[in-house]
Symmetry: C2
Subunit: 446 residues, 2 copies
């Protein structure tokens, strides 16, 4: 079977019908799409987008596709790139917890523009979206954590396969073409974790969307690649990882759905900080905590927290997202950790800084990623403790539908008028019944 | 210094003046450019290009730039991609022997379209071209051979840095922007050797050209990246190689020039067969050999020859390039091993096949890659011997100017009329004195 990994996966994508997808998986897909759309609308005004558009607009093709949350229209490749960036720029998008992949960005960003270029129903769009997530997350499962530990930003590296598969499904590629689409995508797989904290981080899912889209378009014209991009000795899983398990890609295809394991962030920062933030907000609300009452905050966390988010003195909002210290201070002061709590002005606020400097974190191997122990010592001598077993947003404590809606609305309301926010949200919920998926794109324009 | 590798390299690119480049290095640059242009014109009609254009033309921006050897005009990003593919599709382009990088493709393919988008003199173009080669080959030196052995197609992975640096020089990026350009480029570094023998192989340098060009454009708009893409623990040299030597990047910058070490292939096939072909052509010309006179041809060669080019019964032109047997037969019969001698019809020609089957090759560890021993036994009992110490095209026996010209003309004459071939060749030779480098691009159109 290890000779046929790419072919087995490609064949499954080509052959699967929408009716093969269980209702709960479709619902997960719809939630993922809604969450992605909210993030993309919310992120669309970010400076990262302004700079990318200033740089690349002169080279755009025809105005084929909407740029979510904006007035510009570009060709579908540029739309895929820019939508993928918007959807990730707040670090607020969905998470496949087994791999830390943010699944929706590379895929939805590629297929939504396509719906403005050729007729695609909502059901077909959702179908392709879910298949893309399967491809992306299964490939991620096969190489995680070794691949991530080396330094690859797995959302980009695995995402490009997902985007190619999803677009390929919509282009009705045959099996050989689908194999080529995965091959052309794989040989563009890229993105370093070194870029975290810079504009390149959100560039990765955007680039994966664009390159996956282009890969499927090339394959449709019989542009050839290796037939064994995943499993060959010089293919993806060997070149870009020190360990691999191909069973993760081919086992139980169509029976076990990774798309159903997607989760949504309540907080606009790296997911490893979420248990700490969750604990801070709970303690704040339970005890009416004020910053001035606090002597110190001690955290015991998973080692990844310090590795990924150990910035002690962040200077910008973006850096704040990689600071467990800032995040906890903001959570205590504001009772939230949305995009607003990562504004530059908040990160530089003296009250936040003072509390931030009172936060200390210790890593212990035995702590799980969605777990944290908090001890808050008050000036009056009281000591408050909280054990967060599973952070809000985890599979064990998922966000409820009304929380997803509140998150969507909160993200979208700064960009679109209220009635447009409502209309777009409702279109997302009924994606499966839309005759023309391009409605979603048009409704997301500024 | 290992904290400042990227910055040191970026600063050097920003600060270097054209007058800092020695005359012999400039001459090497001119030869490399000419050789690249010939390969790109010659390769421009390949099916690989037709399919890529069919797939991507609907998404092209304004008709800003020439596609070498063709009538279409696309935006400069697509031009960079397509020109890079044309220049590599015959496997006939230049070689930096220390790293097996084909240096010109990613760089020239990015900067020539730029000359049609903004005013660039020939001297500035040559300057940027040479700096791009330095960046690309020095980064290659730092990670070769470990990086290549893992399975990375180093022309793509290192090429994207060179393209970004060259374009960045022409865009007059400041030091910080040049660092970002390298960072944005590096986080797109990609391309598997697994793709060799498929259309994706020539896609790699094209993609490197396009992505490097985009990286510099983004950096010009202050799109940020890590400042340490090369040396950081999660940067290029650690993530994409198992060994690295940063001295190779920063040592003797501006004193030792990798661009002067570029070499050009006289034969349109893998470089390991070149000593055998060279010996066959020499014996043929010295003794007036005819296929029918030959009883057998015995070769003693480097083991890589059989490993890479040991196909005994190639069926297509592409397979013929991986057959030392076909190559020697064609060399004896035609006195050449250009693109024509690797046509499908030649590989399937009975006269060639009969002679091919008389070729035997034995590998010996002590033979160097650019060396071969040939023994030709004739039907009349004569035994002719030839020891090729260094194949034509090696640094010890470089192609002479008239041989470069003959190669250029041979590649271009099937695509452009004779007077256009002459005009384009002369423009390339006088690149340094051109007021407007766009002349080169315009002269290369079909």
């Amino acid at each position: 079977m290890t000779n046929e990994v790419t072919r087995t996966l490609a064949r499954w994508v080509v052959d699967t019908k929408f009716s093969d997808i269980p209702a709960d998986v479709r619902h997960s897909g719809t939630c993922s799409f809604l969450n992605w759309m909210g993030c993309a609308v919310g992120g669309s005004q970010h400076e990262t987008l302004d700079r990318a558009i200033a740089a690349l607009a002169p080279f755009s093709g025809p105005a084929q596709a909407t740029i979510i949350g904006r007035k510009e229209r570009f060709d579908i490749m540029h739309a895929a790139l820019l939508n993928g960036m918007s959807s990730h720029v707040f670090d607020f998008d969905d998470t496949h917890l087994k791999t830390i992949i943010h699944p929706a960005g590379p895929i939805a960003s590629a297929i939504l523009p396509l719906a403005e270029y050729m007729p695609i129903s909502g059901a077909d769009l959702l179908h392709a979206f879910i298949l893309g997530i399967e491809v992306e997350c299964r490939i991620g499962n096969a190489v995680y954590p070794a691949h991530y530990d080396i330094g690859w930003h797995i959302t980009g590296t695995a995402g490009v396969f997902g985007a190619a598969a999803a677009v390929g499904k919509l282009l009705k590629l045959n099996e050989q073409q689908m194999i080529w689409a995965l091959g052309i995508a794989g040989t563009q797989s890229s993105g370093f974790r070194e870029m975290f904290g810079t504009m390149c981080k959100s560039f990765h899912p955007g680039n994966a969307a664009k390159n996956g889209l282009a890969s499927a378009m090339l394959a449709k014209q019989n542009f050839t690649s290796s037939n064994r991009v995943l499993e060959a000795p010089r293919g993806f899983a060997h070149v870009m990882s020190t360990a691999r398990n191909f069973d993760e890609i081919t086992r139980d295809l169509g029976k076990v759905w990774e798309a159903a394991l997607n989760s949504y962030k309540p907080f606009a920062c790296g997911i490893v900080i979420h248990p700490s933030i969750d604990g801070c907000i709970q303690l704040r609300n339970e005890h009416g905590l004020k910053a001035e009452d606090i002597k110190k905050i001690d955290l015991v966390v998973d080692p990844l927290v310090l590795e990924l988010t150990g910035k002690k003195t962040p200077q910008t909002g973006l850096e704040g997202k990689f600071s467990v210290y800032h995040s906890c201070a903001a959570a205590i002061i504001y009772g939230a950790a949305g995009e607003r709590e990562y504004a530059d002005t908040v990160v530089r606020d003296q009250r936040v800084i003072t509390l931030r400097d009172k936060v200390e974190a210790v890593a212990k191997e035995e702590i799980r990623e969605d777990e944290a122990y908090l001890t808050v010592t008050l000036n009056d001598g009281r000591v408050l403790k909280k054990h967060v077993e599973h952070a809000i947003g985890s599979l064990e404590r998922p966000m409820k539908q009304d929380q997803l809606i509140a998150k969507f609305d909160d993200l979208a309301r700064d960009v679109l008028p209220a009635e447009r926010v409502n209309a777009l949200r409702e279109l997302c919920w009924k994606i499966e019944s839309l005759k023309d998926a391009a409605e979603l794109a048009r409704a997301s324009a500024a």
